[in-house]
């Protein structure tokens, strides 16, 4: 099962059988990604949902060829039919930042502490859109306004440690959008923003998507953000894609037990007046343990409410229950 869509041919980015294994310090490491496959078409918005540590950022980093050199990567990643895994530095130079850009999860880590943030955005413009300095500065301030930073000139001259978490995050967003790439990988771009700002950022992304036809890969742990924003959602668990489908269908009728559990966790009401103090919040039972990772059976088995005996000994194959959807769970085989 390579592709759940009829329009495979027009894929802008096509990931096939991607397996990534970090060269972790001592322990016998289990792979961070296992046989990941999906397509991104031009102008599409795709959400990636998944538990902490499920490999979302690893996926993002591998698309940009940024994993540590010691990492073992197999599979293929075709961008406009060219394999990104075969790229050398000069080939990357024409893709990173201009064609595929990334909003990093940790803006505090991804910005240089010794450069003014405005200059850091200007550097990206400089690398891809040569032009006079003055113009660049104006462009940067315009982009900063776009992401809701109204005091453009103050933010421009600030060092990262002089900005609040949310301001920093928006700088990172501005940096990624500055060259109007064809694909933006947004790794938790609204993680440190209040709901109003969150909506603003979603609007900005929607707008670049509509105006410039830029495809967006939106990594998040918050399903609520994807409703009304993303076309498709990919659900990851322990480095594997366990479910994929259009957002409305998946949200209305999740198939994989993990997706079901995850969506149920979104609280029903904004506040719960009947909760007693100290009462536990609902969570999925258990956690992904080390033994799960090496099991022959389904990786979700130890936490699954729908498991059968079969799930312990064999791992489920991917099935297509309906056009445009796929899921890896025995419940849907045949």
């Amino acid at each position: 099962m390579t592709c759940a869509h009829s329009s495979c041919a027009s894929a802008l980015l096509r990931i096939h059988g991607l397996t990534v294994r970090y060269a972790a310090s001592q322990e016998q490491s289990s792979p961070a990604l296992v046989g990941v496959e999906f397509d991104i078409r031009r102008g599409e918005t795709v959400g990636i949902l998944g538990e902490s540590g499920s490999g979302k950022s690893t996926l993002a980093l591998s698309i940009l060829g940024l994993l540590p050199v010691s990492t073992n990567i197999t599979g293929s990643m075709l961008f406009e039919n060219k394999d990104l895994l075969q790229f050398d530095e000069s080939a990357w130079g024409t893709v990173r930042g201009t064609r595929i850009a990334m909003i990093f999860q940790d803006p505090g880590l991804s910005l240089s502490p010794v450069m003014r943030v405005g200059d850091q955005i200007a550097e990206v413009l400089r690398a891809h859109r040569p032009g006079p300095r003055k113009v660049r500065k104006q462009q940067v301030e315009a982009i900063l306004r776009d992401v809701g930073l109204s005091q453009g000139d103050r933010i421009y001259g600030a060092y990262p440690h002089q900005l609040s978490g949310g301001e920093l995050h928006r700088v990172a967003i501005a940096q990624a959008l500055s060259c109007r790439p064809d694909v933006v990988i947004a790794d938790e771009p609204t993680q440190s923003l209040d709901a109003t700002r969150q909506a603003e950022i979603l609007d900005v992304l929607r707008e670049v998507n509509r105006k410039f036809g830029c495809a967006i890969i939106f990594i998040t742990h918050n399903p609520a953000l994807l409703a009304g924003f993303a076309d498709r959602v990919i659900v990851m668990y322990a480095g594997r894609i366990v479910e994929e489908g259009p957002v409305p269908q998946v949200f209305r009728q999740p198939l994989h037990p993990y997706t079901k559990g995850l969506l149920q966790l979104v609280p029903a009401s904004l506040q719960d007046p009947d909760r007693t103090r100290g009462q536990h919040l609902p969570a999925l039972p258990g956690s992904l343990s080390h033994s799960d990772r090496s099991t022959r059976g389904c990786i979700f088995e130890s936490r699954c409410f729908a498991r059968t005996e079969l799930c312990q000994s064999e791992s489920p194959r991917e099935v297509v229950p309906e056009e445009g959807r796929r899921v890896s769970c025995f419940n849907y085989e045949n």
């Binding site: 940009l64 940024l66 130079g93 910005l111 010794v114 550097e123 990206v124 690398a127 060092y159």
Partner: protein, 322 residues
């Protein structure tokens, strides 16, 4: 600028400490200038006794120290028995010469070491990095003395370079340009010695700091935005390495200075080195103390210079974070 103020105060305390130590050591060392005078049959014992009294050598050490401090404040820096003049006039010329030598050597060493260190860090593990590592470890194992001797031998062989001193005999009659050229020729051997001697450590340190910075997430992020090549190395990575490198600059000034004292003696450069050596042999103690103080002062200035540089490059230090 509290940070710099603190550095200046530290420097002053260091100077005072060094001067006290010098005095204590000079008192502990056997003999003094006048003991040797006594051996000279042409000077009568009473003259020597008179001189001793005049310079306060019959007084306790503390008194002499106080006397010396007073003369420092007056700008005399004590009196040289051997040259029969205030130490200051001796020091000024010699210190200037040492400053020319070490200043130039520091500048050159860093101008070569920074690009080399940055480049090899970027090419880590490739052939050019290996070559540079091999040659620096070779250089590292050769003492300064040997480098200086080899260079001197070479200078003698090729005849175009002057050997020893800092000016030719006819220096006074030359025009400004010719003077500078003459000076430059004289500088070749000592400066090259110092640069070669300090280069390997500098390159290795710069390479190591750069390797660390190049693995930092923000450098990765800059790569992800399509920034690469020299721009990434010099605009992103190098300033972030400023913190370790500025303390290296302070250290390297110290190392070059102490190295230069030796190199000056070998190559005949009329700096503080030969002065210090002669004065120590002659027990001309105020000159010794003065020369040591001048060297210390240079070292402190080197350190402060490095700090100013760091403050200019790294906003976290400038704004009182870290």
């Amino acid at each position: 600028m509290k940070y710099l103020e603190r550095r200046v105060i530290h420097g002053l305390l260091l100077l005072i400490g060094v001067s006290i130590l010098c005095f204590a050591l000079s008192a502990a060392a056997p003999g003094n200038f006048f003991d040797e005078m006594k051996l000279n049959p042409q000077i009568s014992p009473s003259t020597v006794a008179g001189l001793r009294a005049r310079y306060g050598f019959d007084q306790p050490l503390v008194w002499r120290y106080g006397h010396w401090v007073e003369s420092v404040l007056r700008g005399e820096w004590g009196y040289s028995f051997a040259y029969n003049c205030p130490v200051r006039s001796l020091l000024l010329v010699r210190a200037r010469n040492t400053l020319i030598l070490t200043g130039l050597a520091t500048l050159l060493a860093w101008l070569i070491a920074v690009p080399l260190g940055v480049w090899t860090a970027n090419r880590r593990g490739r052939w050019d990095d290996r070559l540079s590592m091999a040659s620096t470890s070779l250089l590292l194992s050769v003492p300064e003395l040997v480098i200086a001797l080899v260079l001197l031998y070479w200078a003698v062989r090729i005849h175009t370079l002057p050997v020893g001193g800092m000016a030719s005999v006819d220096f006074g009659g030359l025009g400004v340009q010719a003077k500078l050229f003459d000076l430059a020729l004289h500088l070749v051997v000592p400066v090259t010695t110092l640069v070669l001697a300090s280069l390997p450590l500098l390159v290795r340190h710069i390479r190591a700091s750069m390797i660390e910075v190049l693995q930092a997430p923000f450098v990765q992020a800059a790569r992800a935005h399509g920034i690469g090549g020299a721009r990434l190395l010099f605009r992103y990575a190098l300033p972030a390495a400023a913190n370790p490198l500025s303390s290296l600059l302070g250290l390297s000034v110290g190392a070059l200075l102490s190295g230069s004292l030796l190199v000056e003696v070998i190559t005949g450069w009329p700096g503080l080195g030969p002065l210090l050596l002669d004065a120590a042999l002659a027990r001309d103690i105020y000159v010794v103390v003065g020369a040591v103080m001048a060297s210390t002062l240079f070292m402190i200035f080197g350190g402060i210079l490095a700090d100013i540089l760091l403050v200019a490059v790294d906003p976290r230090v400038r704004l009182g974070k870290v």
